[in-house]
């Protein structure tokens, strides 16, 4: 576990109390890290899992929850979303995901997470306990935060304050003004678009080189503090992974070259054509945040099912994958991205891992989240079936061992208007 994570977690035991201890038993436990345990039990103390097995004795004073006929899974993790940073997509006043300027490594998504966002209870009602809240403006967009979908303040919500640096790799005809999606480049003539693209690549290169010089100067002696450069140090030291948003083959190949040249720990995101560079990804040990699988093929002549077969193809090639919703309002549909990939060739266990354990490992918290194992945080969901199926209901949720209220705006409006005569 990394230091950043530890620093934040240090505050957790303070909040821990009897309400963070519980024995969940009688249901089928799906640890993800190992085989399922029918009629299993999980003991949670002070927010952490302390025992998992077929038989776990109930310590005195610990609340017991019977889960007969139900299933216990680790909470799901959305590896790319704007939850917390964006409320109503089209209303500028409600979005904080896109800053002005091309190079903003110093920006921290965590401090802009709105704990009162309606998206939080709505999303967790479908089993998602943690998300990567990801900024998306400019080229270096800032630091994404891994947050729990529970807490009174962003500080309480933070699992990893700075879980990754976000880099939207330049593309030719850069119509992509913000966020994850590429849009057509407008009316710029190709030659001009190409010049712009090369300039942006050069600027990006120079920015990294400048950071490298700053790092050396700092090692040699006192320097005038530069916040942007300071924010780049964990990237250069390979302590912080870099989410490289690159969609098409050309951008992906350039991004791979760039990652090698600057010796960064790259995690590719929105990589719709990752299948074309699967061997390189495997060789460089670069994971991919996939999604949405429920999207159109990039090209007219791509197979109609390319977006859903790609996850299985990448897995087969030995590339580690996780899913992201790349959205706020559709984050709750994250498990269905995995299900559709499973229908088209990804082994079921891998589909489940791609929304739990793989995500935790990619974001450096493999020791803390993503499976039901002794020593991990008790982020758990109780379901009446396979969490990747739409019809499955989430019955209970625990985040850090604490039972989370599954009520939300949608349920409230439903109940209110159901009663209208």
């Amino acid at each position: 576990m990394r230091k950043v994570a530890l620093a934040l977690l240090a505050s957790l035991p303070l909040a821990a109390g009897p309400e963070d201890s519980v024995l969940l038993r009688g249901g089928t436990v799906h640890p993800v890290s190992g085989p399922e345990i029918p009629n299993g039990a999980v003991l949670v103390r002070d927010g952490k899992i302390v025992e998992v097995g077929a038989k776990v004795a109930a310590p005195r004073g610990v609340r017991v929850v019977e889960l007969k006929g139900l299933h216990l899974y680790p909470g799901l993790i959305d590896s790319a979303t704007e939850i917390g940073l964006s409320e109503i997509g089209s209303v500028r006043e409600t979005t904080d995901a896109y800053e002005i300027g091309d190079f903003n490594p110093q920006l921290r998504a965590l401090i802009a997470v709105n704990p009162a966002s309606e998206h939080i209870p709505v999303t967790r009602a479908n089993g998602i306990t943690s998300v990567m809240s990801t900024p998306g403006g400019g080229v270096i967009c800032g630091q994404a935060a891994l947050i729990h979908l529970d807490g009174w303040t962003w500080q309480e919500m933070g699992v990893v304050a700075s879980a990754a640096m976000v880099l939207r790799f330049p593309i030719i005809g850069a119509g992509r003004s913000r966020g994850f999606e590429e849009t057509p480049g407008g009316r710029t003539p190709f030659a001009e678009a190409r010049r712009n693209y090369e300039r942006r690549l050069r600027e990006l290169d120079e920015f990294f080189e400048r950071a490298r010089r700053y790092q050396k100067a700092k090692a040699a002696g006192p320097v005038e503090k530069d916040l942007k450069m300071e924010a780049m140090l964990p990237v250069l030291e390979k302590k912080l992974p870099v989410v490289v948003v690159a969609q098409r083959e050309r951008a992906l190949r350039e991004a791979l070259k760039f990652a090698q040249k600057h010796q960064i720990r790259a995690v590719l995101a929105q990589a719709d054509e990752a299948w074309k560079v699967a061997a390189e990804l495997k060789a460089q040990n670069i994971p991919v945040i996939l999604g949405p699988t429920l999207r159109l093929p990039l090209h007219e002549d791509d197979p109609y099912d390319k977006p859903v077969t790609q996850p299985g193809e990448l897995h087969k090639a030995g590339v580690k994958i996780a899913f992201g919703s790349f959205s706020t309002s559709f984050s709750r549909n994250l498990p269905y991205q995995a299900a559709n990939a499973v229908a088209y060739g990804l082994p079921y266990e891998e589909g489940l891992k791609a929304v739990t354990l793989n995500a935790a490992e990619i974001w450096g918290v493999g020791e803390l989240l993503g499976s039901i194992q002794k020593g991990k945080l008790a982020d758990l969901i109780v379901t009446d079936g396979d969490p990747l199926e739409t019809r499955t209901q989430i019955k209970q949720m625990y985040i850090g061992g604490r039972a989370v209220d599954l009520d939300n705006k949608h349920l409230r409006l439903y109940k209110k208007y159901e009663g209208r005569q």
Binding site: L294, L296, Y304, S329, Y336, E389, T390, T392, L413
Partner: protein
């Protein structure tokens, strides 16, 4: 002598009726008549019989669907695919335009929709203005020309729109001041635009009636000038054109129902109607249908109160509910969208499937032909490997009027060949470009 006969037969073959088709041993989800394990007999593109025991006629084409699931072809009654353009948004009333004039039968979205089990759609004018254009139902007959997509005898549908989209052009700042603002800028103005247009249409209809009456009486009269903008509105007033209205909020929905009532026409479908659950009683009383998204919300202000329980709640309050895609992507998995109506609000499996088959068919006036597995109906069928309400179900085959238009095995097996043909074409294009010299040197005027 013999070879000639063969030639003659070959020439006559297309004129002869296609052999009967039997889809055998499937889990059949009829939607309207329950479910059974059995077969479906298709003759001349229509469902002849459906039941547990069906005799396979001699010479029939047999599709073995053992262990698989068959349901009626999915109907997406709000889509924009297969059209070259969507919005004639320069004016607030553009009822003179017709989407059928700009159909694009080569839109790859048609094939992709088929691969998602969709057989019939309503491809509509956009929502940029209060009164948009005329449209009509299409079948996803991939490979046919524009006329080949049309559904004979289907009624025209007039598209209208309320709320944020039609009033957007009212604010100049939205477009950096480059575009002259267009009335209306408010929901008040949207109502006014529609009221003005139908008031005009009433007067126009009266003028024409007066003229016809004069002719009948043998009087001389000059024919009134035909107004192609008002013609569709007159058809609406006379019940010959269906009405679909894009609406989001409860207030504008209620406004539209009252306005329609005032002018004596029915709204056949409220499109999106994400706050429909708030005025379900009024929608049901008007006998308007609702065609909505399963779970879209929060992408714009008027979608702030959208809830995924909308479909189930409206359904329970007596509204005829359909689920639509409005998207070439979402239309590929409307079966999974239907499952959300079970998850959120607990409708039954048949009710959920009805929301993507018979209910949307009713809203476009085609329920006598499509939307369920019943003798006499078009043999538009989807075959899945698993239950269609599971996220793991894959479409295996899609039939339209008994003809297989999509076959997953065929698609997969042809991929290699298609890819090598694509590469050959790319090479050829490169060659030609080399010969022709650098781009930009020749420019047609």
């Amino acid at each position: 002598m013999k070879p000639r006969w063969i030639l003659l037969l070959a020439a006559a073959a297309p004129l002869m009726a296609a052999p009967p088709v039997v889809v055998r041993n499937a889990n059949v989800l009829t939607v309207t008549k329950g479910r059974f394990v059995g077969s479906i007999l298709i003759r001349d593109g229509k469902i002849a019989e459906a039941g547990e025991k069906i005799r396979t006629p001699e010479g029939a084409q047999v599709i073995d669907a053992s262990g698989q699931y068959v349901m009626p072809g999915i109907i997406d009654n709000h889509s924009h695919i297969a059209a070259e353009s969507t919005n004639e948004g320069s004016v607030s009333v553009s009822s003179m335009v017709d989407i059928r004039d700009v159909l694009n039968p080569e839109d790859i979205a048609i094939y992709r929709a088929l691969a998602g089990g969709v057989t019939t759609i309503l491809t509509t004018h956009g929502s940029a203005n209060a009164i948009g254009g005329v449209c009509s139902a299409l079948k996803m007959r991939w490979g046919k020309d524009a006329a080949g997509l049309m559904v004979d005898g289907s009624a025209p549908v007039l598209k209208m729109a309320l709320g944020e989209n039609p009033k957007r052009r009212g604010g100049a700042t939205q477009f950096g001041g480059n575009i002259t603002p267009r009335y209306p800028a408010t929901r008040m103005g949207v109502e006014d635009v529609i009221r003005e247009a139908f008031t005009e249409a009433q007067a126009y209809r009266q003028t024409r009636r007066d003229y016809e009456a004069k002719l009948k009486r043998g009087e001389k009269a000059a024919a009134p000038r035909r107004d192609i903008r008002l013609d569709p509105l007159v058809e609406v007033l006379e019940g010959r054109c269906l009405v679909h209205v894009h609406a989001y909020r409860a207030d504008e929905t209620l406004m539209m129902l009252r306005l329609a009532q005032e002018f004596g026409f029915r709204v056949h479908a409220l499109i999106h109607v994400l706050e429909g659950y708030k005025v379900a009683k009024e929608i049901a009383a008007h006998n308007a249908g609702a065609t909505t998204f399963s779970d879209w919300w929060a992408y714009k202000m008027e979608a702030a109160d959208a809830i995924p329980y909308n479909a189930a709640l409206m359904h329970r309050k007596g509204v005829l509910v359909a689920l639509n895609s409005d998207s070439p992507e979402l239309m590929r998995h409307l079966n999974q969208e239907a499952a959300k109506a079970i998850k959120y609000g607990g409708v039954t499996e048949d009710e959920a499937l009805a929301m993507i088959t018979i209910n949307p068919a009713r809203q476009i006036g085609l329920d006598q032909r499509v939307g369920s597995i019943e003798p006499g109906k078009d043999a538009d069928l989807v075959i899945y490997d698993k239950h269609p309400l599971s996220n793991y179900a894959k479409v295996q085959k899609v039939l339209i009027e008994g003809e297989v238009y999509f076959d997953r095995d065929r698609d997969v097996s042809q991929r290699e060949e298609r890819e090598s043909r694509r590469k050959a074409l790319v090479e050829k294009a490169k060659e030609q470009q080399k010969k022709a010299g650098p781009p930009g040197t020749r420019r047609p005027s």
